[in-house]
Amino acid sequence: MAGRVPDDGSDFVKIDRSRGRFKVSRRAFVDESILSAERAAIFDKCWLYLGHDSELAAPGAFLTRAVGGRNLIFNRDSAGTVRSFVNSCPHRGMRLCRDRAGKAKHFQCFYHGWIFGNDGKLIDQPGGESDYAPGFNADCTADLVPVPRLEQYRQFWFVCFDRNAVPLADYLGGARDYLDLTADQSEAGMAIIGGTQEYGIRANWKLLVENSYDGYHAMTTHASYLDYLRNTVGSLSRTPIDGVARDLGNGHAVVEYTAPWGRPVASWIPMWGEEGRREIDAIRQRLASRHGEARAERIALKSRNIGIFPNLVINDVMAVTVRTFYPAATDYLEVNAWAIGPSEESEWARKFRLFNFLEFLGPGGFATPDDVEALENCQRGYRNHAEAPWNDISKGMLKNEPRVTDELQIRAFWTQWNQRVAAHRHGEGAPS
């Protein structure tokens, strides 16, 4: 049975295509056994975002990062090769590197003093020549353990803990076009901007997946943000929020739409003044010369909330944020979020990009805190799941072309989630 994908009749997702109904069980947000199944069927199997190439600018640069329940080192070795190792000393397993970031030729475990090159090779250990058998590390088992798979697409580095996974490019599939629309904003390469927003939310991780590209909640949840736009002279252009949702396959999905906010690449708003208009015009012209007028217009004027299964969000809105998150428990998730922009961006554009970012995004913005409040109260609401068992994700289900305010993108996530989790649960205990 292992690997068999059930039809629409599983325990957690109910789909009635003819009647346009899509239901998700609230148990999926509270059940400990589901979290275990997710770790095995999703986080141990899918490609997971590790970091951006720009974060390792120079040879020797390293970061430590928690990904998929593991502690990893993400570094560029002295020869310039990007690597990732599990952050555990091969000797006794201690977390080897305790710094968040830095530059190092070597990593030394302070417990017993073993030293590794930034290519992962064991260089020395106290008593190495006198106390260990000759050829002790001939089989390389005393070197740092690399992650099973490490690949990048357009500077976005991913890891996978399943040695047999399909190549990253195949996994990304239709989402590659949307990573291109982000990466193509720069001539010299996009770069992560200094400063990480790291926060927790007392809610199930899948609630943040849904929320990150949910166009339906903006008018009510973010009413006070929309008030802010209206009250801020010149920031509100007349453009309405209008656009489409697309299922990109493999659980990836996107909403792409016009919106009233300004975009550093490259949609001018009156608040930015005449100097700003010249800047934005120049950025737009360079975009058009690189990509043609039609693509330049799409990049510049359309906002995109991109969800890459299971947990990478790139929201290319009034600024661009890269966001990833993991469950620490069924009812608690941990987010890392960054700002990203063209590395060649002027001081002016960078300043307005960051100013724009903070008006909406992050724990101190005018919108994200209300999302956090909503997600935490969904989680509280799910305590009643025995009596009220189903979420409804049906909006726009019978439309030929669902809109940004429909729920197609959320159905795309749940359909993939259900295939992976149901296949895992059906396979459990079956003879191999």
Binding site: G194, T196, A374
Partner: protein
């Protein structure tokens, strides 16, 4: 004000500010700020001298956005603070230094407790206030709250004012 404020005067000012916040008298709190004021909360992995023009902060408000922040928090549609949380701003370790011709640079340690829905979160850090004298007493030209935390876990948000 021709003579610099004493530490006890500055402390009284900071206690008054804390009290206005804890009593949700936010329009009165806003009136403590100059027209060119800034309110800043950096991300917790940035160096102390990082600029919000080049780095991602949690909050980097100019005066206009600070007014809008207060307006938002006073509305029913400011969902994250509805029903309103209880807060207590603790201020201590106050030190006063001159800053330019007439301004004061005041550093303090802060601990802010926020309780909502049965959960109490703690925000702890170092505050920098740049204070300038005015006809009505001291005014805040800059308030920067540098959190002594590794991110906002589990706090999740800075929907109150620190």
């Amino acid at each position: 004000m021709s003579t610099p404020a004493s530490r006890s005067e500055v402390e009284d000012f900071l206690y008054q500010e804390a009290s206005l916040l804890d009593e949700w008298r936010l329009p009165e709190w806003l009136a403590l700020f100059t027209e060119d004021a800034h309110y800043l909360v950096p991300a917790t992995d940035l160096p102390a001298d990082a600029s919000p023009d080049e780095n991602l902060f949690y909050i980097a408000d100019d005066r206009h956005r600070l007014e809008q922040r207060v307006a938002r928090l006073m509305k029913k549609s400011g969902h994250s603070e509805q029903p309103r949380s209880k807060t207590r701003h603790m201020v201590n370790n106050v030190r006063v230094a001159a800053c330019g011709a007439d301004a004061l640079s005041v550093t303090s340690a802060f601990a802010v407790y926020r309780t909502k829905d049965g959960v109490t979160d703690l925000y702890v850090g170092k505050a920098l206030h740049e204070l300038v004298p005015s006809a009505g007493g001291l005014r805040i030209r800059k308030k920067l709250c540098a959190l002594d935390l590794d991110g906002l876990r589990p706090q999740g948000r800075i929907s109150i004012i620190l």
